[in-house]
């Protein structure tokens, strides 16, 4: 994945370290606030721990479970 290439968090392979690149327009404003409150803000680094049954990411040593309906609207890019 190149520096500019963005993929959905939902499609990111387990174990990959990524940076949050963008919130999709389909994310509800209240949910966006909630994501910020959990520390999920652009361009923070995340590690994908699992994708099923929910997407679970590690963000600053805290595991956060995200339902696919939200994870598919979060865009990430390579952390490298």
């Amino acid at each position: 994945m190149s520096q500019q290439e963005r993929i959905r968090l939902l499609g990111t392979p387990v174990g990959r370290e990524v940076r949050l690149a963008e919130f999709g327009d389909d994310i509800d404003p209240l949910q966006r606030e909630q994501l910020h409150a959990y520390g999920l803000s652009v361009p923070h680094k995340l590690k994908v721990l699992q994708q099923h049954p929910l997407t679970v990411v590690l963000c600053d040593h805290v595991e956060i479970a995200i339902e696919h309906a939200v994870a598919q609207h979060l865009w990430v890019e390579s952390a490298a």
Binding site: D28, P29, L30, Q31, R32, E33, Q34, L35, H36, A37, Y38, G39, S41, V42, H44, K47, L49, Q50, H52, P53, L54, V56, L58, D60, H61, V62, E63, I64, A65, I66, E67, A69, V70
Partner: protein
């Protein structure tokens, strides 16, 4: 168990504030000596607790519900915001997670705008250390202009320095300045608040930022204090929001997040390769798509063995049959019959519906051993952090009924006590989620005492009987949830939740919680059992009970297929479902397997206890409570009857 939560504006007040599950309640216990319920999941504290701190017995220390973020969005966050607005708040002790400094500082950035003197306790310093996170507390203190103390509240480390640091509490330096356009809006609203509704403690700028973020509590406060000025402020806020592409609340949160990240980066370090602990591996196993379910079944089976087999079987056998039945009750009966010469009083004490032979024997010999084992098992699971993990694997099931996995937490807590769990629904984000969850708990979640009786009666018959009961409850829960999800207006919120780390349960905490819950049981339940027994005695003496049994025959014997005497258990169930279940338990020798299962399913779905009904009235209003009861009782008899007829087709 919760100390007085009455807001009193005359006391000098300090408050513990912070994110959920960062150790505020443990610190509260350390600072005051007052125990409040402490658990390893977010949302344990949903009301403000108050006690005098050890370092100043004239002051008042508040333990506030955790705030994921401010402006407040959920009911527990609103409770914290109300405390900030209405208390004579002199000092805030922000409790933060040392291993997640960025998130901690995100909240600090907002609290700093409120202008209250603060101290920052960076708690769980041991967990941060284990993950290779080091925070330069001196540099952070210098940047913020407030004392910053590393603490490990569970071990008491850092508590004395924290107490000493309170003398040096100061309003923190602002962490950020918003972009010019936002700053102009903040300053304009600030000026209007300062003119129309100056707050005695909170800075107008902080209140302006919360208002621009649509905080409902600050908005209500403004309506109360600003009079005609409130309309002017509201118009300005509406005009400010009108031309923007991004909602102001999200923009403000994003900017604070950036400032917090920048500061966190300068004062903390992460050692390489120390981000995966054993606890995390165990935690991941619990939410694994394949291993999560077998692990859940294994956990449930161990709980069943401990509560159903050991508690309801071995311990109840020892207490009820051997001690009460063989020793205590015969001795008590002899004593009463010898010394009490008035026959009806003797009968009231040791007769068929005697206060001792029925009320106290049910409460102490049948239920107490069961709830003790249940509370112990529950405490261990609570402290381990496992309950939060359930929200992940249960999410899909809850999605089918219009909720998300977060609702699993109140429901699991309902297995302890539905009354307290009703209060815990405050952690849910929308009124719709709360309403559906409260309804489902009132209908189909048995409390610990009732669950114990179910395990005791059905487990004594066969494991299959328990499985049929559990399957039936699950089916009712899903069907009722599905229908409620369709009927209650509003949309479903997808799940985003923190998963707290799995931890080894602390024996002292588990025992303390079990002791507290048993005290609640003894104080709340035993009097109700005695009142219920007295009621049964009076009904029996007045000849009403035989009439009720006769009148209930078509329903109880015809439709449910139970012996006519079971009507008495349903009368007892009006007071508490577990009391009614115990009445069926007492009939167990006369029941077939089908009758036992049908009886337990019906009584489990029967009306919630009086305390739960009162809590529903408090949280949702009288009308909602009445509608729920009107749905629940016919549903119980309908499901019980259908089950009776279905089971007879196959058995």
């Amino acid at each position: 168990m919760t100390p007085s939560a009455t807001l009193d504006a005359t006391a000098r007040t300090l408050a513990l504030v912070g994110h959920p599950n960062v150790g505020k309640s443990v610190l509260f216990h350390r600072l005051t000596g007052t125990y409040v319920n402490v658990s390893n999941y977010p949302g344990t504290t949903v009301e403000v607790s108050r006690a005098a701190p050890r370092f100043d017995r004239d002051a008042s220390l508040l333990d506030t519900p955790g705030v994921l973020s401010l402006p407040a969005r959920s009911d527990d966050e609103r409770a914290t915001m109300r405390a900030l607005l209405h208390e004579d708040m002199r000092t805030l002790i922000q409790v933060g997670d040392a291993k997640n400094l960025r998130r901690t500082l995100n909240l600090t950035a907002l609290l700093a705008e409120l202008g209250i003197p603060m101290v920052l306790a960076l708690n769980m310093a041991d967990e941060a250390n284990a993950r290779g996170v080091t925070v330069d507390t001196a540099a952070l203190a210098e940047s913020l202009g407030i004392p910053v103390i590393a603490t490990i509240a569970t071990g008491g480390e850092g508590v004395v320095p924290l107490t000493d640091a309170l003398k040096h509490a100061a309003p923190p330096a602002p962490l950020l300045r918003y972009d010019d356009e936002t700053e102009r809006a903040v300053q304009a609203v600030t000026a209007l608040i300062a003119r129309h509704a100056p707050h005695p403690r909170l800075a107008a700028r902080g209140l302006a930022i919360l208002l621009l973020g649509h905080d409902p509590e600050v908005s209500a406060w403004l309506d109360e204090k600003a009079g005609a000025g409130a309309a002017e402020i509201r118009k300005l806020i509406t005009d400010t929001a009108a031309g923007r592409k991004e909602p102001l609340a999200a923009l403000l949160a994003r900017e604070r997040g950036r400032a917090a990240e920048a500061l966190a980066r300068t004062v903390s370090k992460q050692a390489a390769g120390k981000d995966r602990s054993m606890a995390m591996r165990v935690g991941q196993l619990a939410v694994h798509p394949v291993w999560g379910w077998p692990l859940l079944l294994a956990v449930l089976y161990v709980v069943y063995l401990f509560v159903g087999d050991f508690g309801a079987g071995t311990l109840v056998g020892l207490l009820e049959e051997d001690f009460f039945g063989g020793v205590l009750n015969p001795a008590m009966t002899d004593f009463v019959q010898h010394y009490v010469t008035i026959p009806w009083i003797a009968d009231l004490l040791v007769g068929e519906y005697g206060l001792w032979t029925m009320g106290m024997t049910y409460a102490l010999a049948l239920i107490l051993p069961i709830v003790t084992t249940f509370f112990l098992a529950f405490g261990v699971l609570e402290d381990s952090g496992y309950f939060s993990r359930l929200s992940v694997i249960a999410n899909r099931m809850f999605a089918a009924i219009g909720l998300n996995g977060r609702a699993v937490l109140p429901m699991v807590l309902g297995l302890g006590c539905v009354t307290m769990a009703t209060l815990t629904t405050r952690i849910l984000q929308t009124p719709r989620e709360r309403l559906i969850t409260i309804f489902l708990m009132a209908l189909a979640i048995p409390c610990s005492a009732q669950l114990g009786v179910v395990f005791g009666l059905l487990g004594g018959i066969s494991f299959n009987a328990t499985l049929i009961w559990a399957g039936c409850m699950l089916l009712v829960l899903l069907t009722a949830g599905f229908l409620a999800g369709k009927l209650v207006k509003g949309r479903r919120i997808p799940l985003v939740t923190e998963l707290p780390p799995m931890r080894m349960p602390v024996l002292g905490n588990v025992l303390k919680k079990t002791g507290g819950r048993l005290k609640w049981y003894l104080v709340e339940v035993i009097p109700l059992f005695l009142i219920g027994t007295l009621l049964m005695f009076i009904l029996d003496r007045a000849g009403v009970l035989p009439w009720i049994i006769k009148a209930g025959e078509p329903l109880v014997s015809g439709w449910l297929g139970l012996p006519p005497e079971a009507s008495a258990a349903f009368v007892m169930g009006f007071l508490r479902r577990d009391f009614g279940a115990t009445g069926l338990f007492a009939l167990s020798s006369e029941l077939t397997m089908i009758q036992a299962v049908v009886g337990m399913v019906t009584i489990t779905l029967f009306v919630p206890c009086i305390a739960s009904v009162m809590m529903i009235v408090k949280e949702r209003g009288m009308r909602t409570a009445a509608i729920m009861l009107a749905i629940i009782m016919p549903t119980a008899f309908f499901v019980g009857g259908v089950l009776n007829h279905v089971l007879h087709l196959f058995m």
